[in-house]
């Protein structure tokens, strides 16, 4: 649904180039860097997002991390003990989600735009078709959002996009130290009268680098060798420590 919408949006803007007009591109935007390297000293980082609008409207910037499937489990008391019973699965949800807006989301005029584009964390999880399971869906969805908040991978409130004058805007996106590696996207929208009038999308690559990348690759591609190395390393270090102390 979202893909169809984006294609449509793209074609509309393409047509504004084919038909000669005096209008400039409604929105241009860029990032301070397109790549985050996670090495041994990685402790989180930040990316600056900036651009210019040539039309009226509000800026909404969304950063999505790699999509994953999740399961949320609920505990119940059975014979005095708390045990996992009910569960709900969520498919294709981003593992990282940051959003920055020039105005609070509920002040931006729109009907179903945010749901279609997946703007706002409540719109990331698809509710079940039957209204009966609606309440339990909401509880599980809330639990999932709570979990991501705790890991600091989802922000509770959108960050502000600040304007310098009428056209230039900027904002800062913070990344904590435990961001998952993978393909991220930064989408910047110019929204006016409940419609997208300008849009820019840029990929951000988050990779492990240095010895961490090597160890991760080693652990996943050569698990047996990695396992033996881990064991032998521990045996050898323990042995040397033992010998060393005997001499003392």
């Amino acid at each position: 649904m979202r893909v169809a919408f984006l294609c449509l949006s793209f074609i509309v803007h393409l047509s504004s180039f084919i038909v000669p007009s005096a209008q400039a591109t409604p929105l241009v935007a860029d990032l301070s860097n397109y790549r985050i390297d996670i090495d041994s000293g990685f402790n989180g980082t930040r990316i600056f997002l900036f651009g210019a609008r040539n039309d009226n409207g509000d800026i909404v910037a969304v950063i999505r991390g790699p999509q994953k499937d999740y399961i949320v489990r609920k505990k119940e008391e059975i014979a005095g003990i708390w045990v996992n019973r009910d569960r709900m699965r969520f498919w294709g949800v981003p593992d990282f989600y940051a959003i920055a807006t020039s105005k609070p989301l509920n002040e931006i005029e729109q009907t179903s735009l945010f749901r279609q584009l997946g703007i706002g964390q409540e719109n990331l999880l698809s509710p079940p078709p039957s209204p009966k399971s609606r309440t339990s869906f909401e509880q599980f969805a809330d639990a999932f959002l709570r979990y991501q908040h705790e890991r600091r991978l989802y922000m509770k409130e959108p960050d502000p996009v600040s304007f310098m004058g009428e056209t230039l805007f900027k904002t800062v996106i913070e990344f904590p130290d435990d961001i998952p590696p993978g393909a991220y996207t930064a989408e910047i929208y110019l929204i006016s009268d409940g419609e997208v009038v300008g849009m820019q999308s840029t990929p951000i690559t988050v990779v492990k680098s240095g010895i961490d990348a090597f160890l991760f690759m080693y652990a996943h591609d050569y698990p047996a060798l990695y396992g033996i190395t881990a064991v032998v390393l521990a045996l050898v270090i323990g042995w040397f420590a033992g010998r060393m102390f005997e001499k003392m």
Binding site: D95, P180, A224, A230
Partner: protein, 301 residues
Amino acid sequence: MNIYLPIAEMSVNIFLILGLGVVTGVLSGLFGVGGGFLMTPLLIFIGVPPAVSVSTVGNQIIASSVSGFLAHWRRENVDFKMGWFLLGGGLVGSTLGVEIFRWLKQLGYIDLIISVSYVAFLGVIGAMMANESVRSIMGIVKKHSPHARPKLATRLPFKIEFPKSKLHISAIMPVAIGFFVGIMVSLMGIGGGFFLIPAMIYLLGMPTAVVIGTSLFQIIFITANVTFLQAITTQTVDIMLALLLLSGSVIGAQFGSRWGAKLPADYLRASLAAIVLLVALKLAWGLFTPPSDIYSVSVLE
């Protein structure tokens, strides 16, 4: 000062991890336990994913156990013959245990099983040990010989001599004990000393002096097996975290072993019984009180 861990995918304070290693190392040398029962929950508490905590602590236990073991070996306090029999059962049990762990994890019941197992066994073992060691300290004279006489072990078939422990008991016992402990090691992310030591004293009737060294011998191989299997099946062993923990714990284990040799055996057993009961109580509390969040989230593989 922070360092990023590649498998855990998070950054941690170096000194915190080193300190954790030293403390658990001291416990390892002192009591002949791996220290995993303390280290695994503490790692999870500071935010390391549980699967990574369990697998990586197993890796670390190898080193601290080797370090402590060497000290006991030099003092000739190891019954190797008994150790090999325990190991036979232990390798089979721990391999089976890793499979059971994976299966329970998929069903979502692994946390419950771990907690219930801890509470049941630690509670029983702790109570038994407390009873025995306190009576020993208070000088309540027992009717039979200084070290507990095993009843079952002498009645089962396949009896052989274990000269170091001065025992003539069934070989089935050590193999069965090793097997059972092997399963628990894989399920609970511990070294197994908590089960081994009381089992050796009460079920096999080994003298206390030999128990710790022999238990460490067993722990080394079982944890090596589990680490290797976890690396293959779940890729949750974080070498960098393990190395950090190792650095602290090998040093701690040496000091623990020295102090342990000087302290009277029954005081050691009483202290261990106290720790065991405290951990069991804390886990029981966790089972029966409502959790801070009744919802829990995990990624579907």
